[in-house]
Symmetry: C2
Subunit: 318 residues, 2 copies
């Protein structure tokens, strides 16, 4: 099967919002007046970002999800994406479910596949996604101020638990593993929350490399530090208490990775706005600490005792 | 060296036209009022699109050039691009010249690196490029009409000659090989010509897979066929006469691949406009045939004798 047949068969669909979609030299996008285009690009490599055994449907979902998560962290509404795909072989039995998983998530977020490239090579998925955000309203990493409160959406740490089970370093009951694995393989981008946080959050980032690591990008870009409440952090995993030790729970929650939740800051005066955004998105958010002027992150027990929080974050070159 | 250090060290530069560049979750682009954004994505894989021995500076150049060539074929002015890069190792001796080649071409075309991704994996370069084109003025593949004349910019076929030398199927003198190799490794995207052809050309595509193969996309999208003048086609290579047989010359010119010239159609009444665009771009264009209503491509000698032109075009899944 040739490159063009592949595109036709699995990925070409009628154009909706784009001015011109798959099939010409370029796609054409027409952002609405007053809108900026938010652009993000992520590359997923077999063995590094996913296991060779992964269900192609879940992989299609995740490849787009990690990009939509970046758009969410910017407060942008998903608009369109391009897909560049290197495949060892043109295998319909793999491509059909991959495209299904990918396009189902795209449809759920109103995000249109407008172009891309396919080639033969070691399995590699590169997606570039586009979203719209009103000019000047994007959520940046640089807006956190001392006194702001720090929040995390949903639950974090469970994807890391699943990864450790796959790696053989941890053994948990099947009823704990199954939802954690689903968390790892099918993250839900927090688009609705991200858009609802425009004008509410002072800074935001999505949690892909571990909560503290990604929060660190916000703190660095904003020139501030943070104090994190260890007791609040221990409530962030969906995995029920008793499965992990307290220390493991804290490590997975704060340095797990692959969570694709949003960590964001907001002034204390914006608690109502944060609550409203949370209700609007149907997604719990947890207040886990406070921005401080002193650089660095301090994880602190309720009694004031410091926790050693030099957790390694995921770094795909680490 | 971590992923973030890599980006900082080799790729981060001050933002110019983009609203927000490298370093946040997304880049922000602000197309000018009345402009559409042209988007194209290309993935280059080692062993398939380039040889492991390629000079990284030339590779950086080419990885962006193939995308700028797509923008040129749309008549779009380059604006920005994202770079996703999978590397076997974070090797500064490779990355520095790669970034130099990439950014030198970017600067020459006023095209800004605004974001991307780096990861460890088999060498893979995925670039997504953005250009601006006034609404409704993009050069599409679907606009060719019977009676239109068919043109090619510059010279084609020489990159294929270089490839065949590398493959060992052909031996030519060094003074023939050197410029052909430069053609293969450092294609010049035809941005200026593409923009000058807005309102002049009826359809356009860039020549990446071979002249007839890519022209075929225009013909198919336009629902037409073409008659190609074999004598004109034999003048399209830069390689001097006598090095190749007439049959080889025709095959390399019509089915070479990796040329990154523009093949376009224009009404016979637009000859002046085509000439003007050619002069403006400082680039020769050659009239090679005519669009006909009957589907298919007929390559014809001056005496009317048909040439068998079932040349294989490059297909990266072929």
């Amino acid at each position: 099967m040739g490159e063009f047949d592949l595109i036709e068969r699995f990925f070409k669909r009628p154009v909706r919002r784009a001015a011109l979609g798959v099939g010409d030299d370029c796609a054409l996008l027409q952002p609405a007046p007053g809108m900026q285009l938010a652009v993000t690009s992520d590359m997923l490599v077999e063995g590094r970002h996913f296991l060779p055994t992964v269900d192609p449907r879940a992989l299609g979902h995740k490849a787009l999800a990690v990009n939509l998560s970046d758009l969410a962290a910017c407060g942008a509404r998903p608009l369109a994406f391009t897909l560049a795909l290197a495949l060892p072989a043109a295998d319909a039995a793999w491509l059909a479910p991959f495209a299904e998983g990918l396009l189902a998530l795209a449809d759920a977020h109103g995000c249109e596949l407008v172009g891309g490239d396919t080639t033969r090579g070691p399995l590699n998925i590169c997606i570039t996604a586009f979203g719209e955000v009103p000019r000047g309203q994007a959520l940046l990493r640089s807006g956190a101020r001392p006194g702001d409160e720090i929040y995390v959406s949903g639950t974090v740490g469970d994807a890391r638990l699943a990864l450790e089970v796959f790696r053989g370093t941890l053994s948990v009951p099947q009823e704990v593993f199954a939802p954690a694995r689903a968390r790892m393989e099918r993250p839900e981008p927090r688009s609705v929350l991200g858009q609802a946080l425009r004008g509410v959050a002072s800074a935001a980032v999505d949690v892909s490399d571990g909560l503290l690591g990604d929060l660190g990008h916000v703190l660095k870009a904003s020139g501030v530090g943070a104090r994190i409440d260890a007791a609040a952090a221990r409530t962030l995993m969906a995995t029920p208490p008793g499965v992990l030790t307290d220390a493991q729970t804290l490590q997975f929650a704060l340095a797990g990775g692959d969570d694709y939740e949003l960590v964001f800051t907001a002034p204390a005066t914006a608690r109502g706005g944060v609550k409203g955004a949370s209700v609007h998105a149907g997604l719990q958010v947890t207040r886990i600490g406070r921005v401080e002027a002193t650089p660095g992150v301090r994880v602190v027990e309720p009694d004031g005792r410091p926790v050693d929080a030099r957790f390694a974050s995921f770094d795909h070159f680490g």
